[in-house]
Amino acid sequence: MQDFSYRKAQSIADAVDAMRGADDGAFLAGGQTLLPTMKQRLAAPSDVVDLSGIAELTGISVSGDTVTVGAMTPHAAVAASGAVRDAIPALCDLADGIGDPQVRNIGTIGGSIANNDPAADYPAACVALGATITTDRREITADEFFTGLFETALQDDEVIVSVSFPRPQAAAYMKFPNPASRYALVGVFVARTGGGVRVAVTGAGEDGVFRAGAMEAALTSAFSPDSISDGQVGEDGLMSDMHAGADYRAHLVAVMARRAVAAAG
């Protein structure tokens, strides 16, 4: 890993300032993506701005029908939260299935969505539940936030503060984990909301997480596993790599979607 200058930010404003002053800076959250990437020399930031000292970025609150998770909240805290389990149990189950216990103890929701790995789990929850991402300067809907492979709507010096999830009527996430990495080979998050059914697919798309429109329409008219069929998400635009071909991923999307609908009930 190449050396860098390290700064522990004291406040959100301090973090933004530090990033503006850096040649090629990176925010550090749990480090579970950034540090492995730096160890492989796929990233070599000149400055690392640690967000862990900013207390207001951590924590979970539920008010009315909205669950708000601070950007620095680790996956394990979401998985173990009784308040989240009461409101959106699928979110706890998703967090509990990320990586392994040590990754969950320190990896954060903010880091996960900022990174927007095409096989990450949280982007599917954000898109299917219609989450709002709050940053130091604005609110961004999940539909606008994830813009492509490892790409988001964030500006270079923009800090995610929290993610707010509206409570759905019912929801479930089903993931077919890659047996080696535990990332999603395919993951499907299904949410039944007042405004219809939303289905988000991760692990499969060449441009990262996407909504499955045909499945949403079919499930909005009849919320049953029988509404899912193989052709609704075709091979076009799906990834083919050493882990799975596009045809296999397309098939898995339907299988995971059926399971998610059955689990959501």
């Binding site: 890993m1 190449q2 050396d3 860098f4 200058s5 390290y6 522990k8 550090l28 480090g31 579970q32 540090l35 492995p36 730096m38 160890k39 492989q40 690392v48 640690d50 862990s52 394990a76 990586g99 392994d100 216990p101 040590q102 990754v103 103890n105 320190i106 990495s181 535990r182």
Partner: protein, 155 residues
């Protein structure tokens, strides 16, 4: 260079480090606590697991500067002189190790599990070990060891 101060196994430890120094390097190379192992460079094997402020983490995927001010416990911090802690004892009783390379991480990970979930079932133990890879034992006796220790430590 940044200076770090932390408590390691109950004793104060400090040193000057490069910003890029990993916690595991600080433990092994500066403090000479070589019980914590490095088995991969992809954050997947868990040989490097230690506790930071009571939670198990991979010390190869944390900077030393991130642990500034923290309480760190390594495998060296478990035994009381010559008497092993119940988890270590259980690994010995159940033949829970062969070459021993993964063992420090297994034990530290298992300690975190039984602290959180003292009555962990066999299935929960197996799932918890997702982040700890052993190339020798086939996991069976590791799981048995943790089951025994969970029973012992729950008393």
């Amino acid at each position: 260079m940044p200076t770090v101060n932390m408590s390691v196994n109950g004793k104060p430890a400090s040193g000057e480090v490069e910003a890029r120094t990993l916690l595991v390097q600080f433990l092994r190379e500066t403090l000479r606590l070589t019980g914590t192992h490095v088995g991969c460079d992809t954050s997947q094997c868990g040989a490097c697991v230690v506790h930071v402020n009571g939670s198990s983490v991979k010390s190869c995927t944390m900077l030393a500067v991130q642990a500034d001010g923290a309480e760190v416990v390594t495998i060296e911090g478990l035994a009381d002189g010559d008497s092993l802690n119940p988890m270590q004892e259980a690994f010995r009783n159940n033949h829970g190790l062969q070459c021993g390379f993964c063992t420090p991480g297994m034990v530290m990970s298992a300690m975190d599990l039984v602290n959180r979930n003292p009555g962990a079932t066999e299935a929960e133990i197996r799932e918890w070990l997702e982040g700890n890879i052993c190339r020798c034992t086939g996991y069976h006796n590791i799981v048995k060891s943790i089951q025994e220790a969970a029973g012992n430590m729950g008393d």
